[in-house]
């Protein structure tokens, strides 16, 4: 199965950790209508790397994560203050940060150096990244355990939730930070162009089928894990980039569940 190679083992472990996480967070992202938000976050990775390059930081992962967190919080803040609709604001921020990132990274015609970021490179998963993914994994579960009800309440009716003494803004910010960190840590091997699909598709497919919250999470995590593992091995044997392959499987699942719902429940 190719697991005798170190890079495949790393990739496999990373997928075992990250796809359930994507599935779990995805449900919340989908029901909170934050798909565009996480997409913008992915794009901001470019800027994070660009800042890292400018500052001469050896490990651009750090600047990427820091920038991602700052970006997420800023987005949350502005969209809660401003009267303009959220998607406009996200779009403005997203394109602005992509532009800055592209401008810096393409200086001197060197953008091709970073083009692997766009589609992802599975060889770039290192042990260090797996450890940090695992830490995030634990943190995310703890967070979900403690705050899921708050988040859910806020996504159903924000004002009502506030009136029930739920610290809506804090919970929302924590959630945004969590997404930022996870997206940034997995972007190098998934690729900027498709990372959002990994967050959204399993949850969307699961939404087609599920009748309650428990099912929603169960199917989402199942679909995510399934397409992750299958995508990894198929991409290994067919010599295709892994991220796109995973997304293709997730999309197949989405369309299948969509048709199923149309037929039996619609």
């Amino acid at each position: 199965m190719g697991l005798e190679y170190g890079f495949m083992r790393n990739a496999f472990v990373a997928i075992l950790i990250i796809t359930p996480l994507f599935g779990m967070l995805g449900t919340m992202i989908v029901s909170r209508k934050m798909a565009f938000f996480s997409d913008a976050l992915g794009h901001s990775a470019l800027t994070g790397i660009a800042f890292g390059v400018i500052l001469g930081v050896a490990d651009t992962n750090i600047t990427m994560v820091v920038f991602g967190i700052a970006f997420a919080l800023l987005l949350n803040y502005i969209s809660s203050k401003s009267g303009t609709s959220t998607d406009t604001i996200i779009s403005v921020f997203s394109s602005c940060s992509v532009a800055i990132g592209l401008a810096i990274l393409s200086k001197g015609g060197n953008f091709s150096k970073y083009s692997s970021l766009l589609v992802g490179d599975i060889l770039s998963i290192s042990k260090w990244e797996i450890v940090s993914l695992f830490v995030i994994f634990v943190v995310a579960y703890v967070f979900f355990f403690c705050c899921f009800n708050y988040l859910h309440a806020a996504s159903i009716h924000r004002t009502l939730a506030k009136s029930r003494q739920i610290p809506v803004r804090l919970v929302e910010n924590l959630f945004a930070v969590l997404i930022a960190v996870i997206v940034m840590l997995s972007i190098k091997w998934v690729g900027i162009l498709i990372i959002n699909a990994l967050l959204i598709l399993p949850a969307a497919a699961s939404r087609n089928l599920s009748a309650n919250m428990r099912e929603y999470h169960f199917f989402s995590i199942l679909f995510s894990l399934f397409s992750g593992i299958l995508g990894l091995f198929v991409s290994y044997y067919t010599n295709v980039a892994t991220g796109p392959m995973i997304v293709i499987f997730a999309s197949i699942l989405y369309f299948a569940t969509y048709l199923y719902t149309r037929k039996y429940q619609g």
Partner: protein
């Protein structure tokens, strides 16, 4: 309710089965019968492949394989695929150009520290190896890579990938220009080095290698003789190039480059640079531009409209068919173009 779970189970099984089936078919369709008995020599990219193939190709015990190729551009930006990593894991020798051309080399040395890597770039560019004798660069004991190797070892457990990526980029800049194969004389020495390395690693086939290399070198020498003819007419001519690889061409013909614009796939040219080129053309009275068809033609057309210059498109020989003679053919075409340019017959 039950229905739903049955559907999901069925769906997942179907998708997985289809995926496995299709992948299996694809694999069968792709793989050719492989002889595990053979010694496998992997080359990093096209010119290296052609050179090695010419030296070792007809030796039945040796199989020369090339890494999967980037479709565009130079090797600078090439990422190894898992397939390549697998290929390298079976390799007995890895022939590279060196000089930072293979920016993925760090990944390779990290995974396979024992791989016999043969660097073919000329020694004078390689400050440490001045004796000109050392040809096999078993990576671990090569002084100029000591730092890299150490890095590989110390981080083996918690490889900080990005750090090494940066490192490889820096390494990539240690040689300004590693397009050695563009010069026939340099290419001859590369072939020579490959031959020496092969002889040392597989002494049992020494004679075949020697013979092949000699035959190939004769053909290359013939090319060089033609070049020398052109050089007489062309020497000292001022030119502008649109690819750094042509610096080696210029060296072969004694041309004087007044401006190089290094164009490749994702390079955006700014208006200021176009103006610079035009200024150089006027100041130095340049009549000849050497460009690469794929990336240079747009700019070249623009320049031709603005100034009275002739643009000649030369092949950079980084990709082509896997025919043994294709380097010679390509180089011959380049020579013919330059013959026409300088009016030599």
């Amino acid at each position: 309710m039950k229905h739903k779970y049955r559907f999901t189970a069925l769906l997942l099984i179907t998708v997985a089965a289809c995926a496995c089936l299709l992948t299996g078919i694809y694999r069968r369709w792709q793989t050719t019968e492989e002889d595990t008995e053979k010694v496998i020599v992997v080359t990093s990219f096209y010119p290296m492949y052609i050179a090695t193939e010419n030296v070792a190709g007809d030796c039945t015990a040796i199989e020369v394989k090339n890494l999967s190729e980037p479709q565009t551009g130079c090797l600078h930006d090439f990422q190894l695929t898992p397939e390549d990593m697998k290929l390298l894991s079976t390799a007995d020798m890895f022939v590279i150009n060196g000089g930072g051309m293979e920016s993925f080399l760090d990944d390779v040395t990290k995974q396979y520290p024992k791989l016999n890597i043969v660097e073919t770039i000329a020694d004078e560019a390689d400050e440490v190896d001045t004796d000109g004798q050392e040809t096999i660069h078993g990576h671990e004991d090569t002084p100029d890579h000591a730092e890299e190797t150490e890095h590989t070892h110390s981080h083996e457990e918690d490889a900080d990938d990005h750090g090494s990526e940066e490192g490889s980029h820096e390494h990539g800049h240690t040689h300004d220009n590693a397009h050695e194969w563009m010069s026939v004389s340099h290419y001859r020495s590369q072939v020579e080095k490959i031959k020496d390395a092969l002889c040392e690693a597989f002494p049992e086939y020494q004679e075949v290698f020697q013979e092949n290399a000699k035959a190939y070198d004769d053909k290359l020498a013939a090319l060089q003789a033609q070049q020398e003819k052109i050089e007489k007419a062309a020497s000292g001519t001022k030119i502008i190039t649109f690819h750094e690889a042509y610096e080696y061409v210029a060296e072969d013909y004694g041309l004087d480059i007044c401006y190089t614009m290094d164009l490749d796939e994702e390079r955006q040219i700014s208006a200021g640079e176009v103006a610079d080129v035009l200024k150089e053309i006027n100041e130095n009275d340049v009549k000849i531009i050497l460009a690469e068809k794929l990336y240079g033609s747009k700019l070249a057309e623009t320049i031709q409209k603005e100034a009275d210059v002739n643009v000649y498109y030369l092949d950079t020989l980084v990709r082509g068919d896997y025919d043994k003679e294709s380097y010679i053919k390509g180089m011959q075409e380049n020579i013919n173009i330059l013959k026409a340019a300088f009016g030599v017959d």
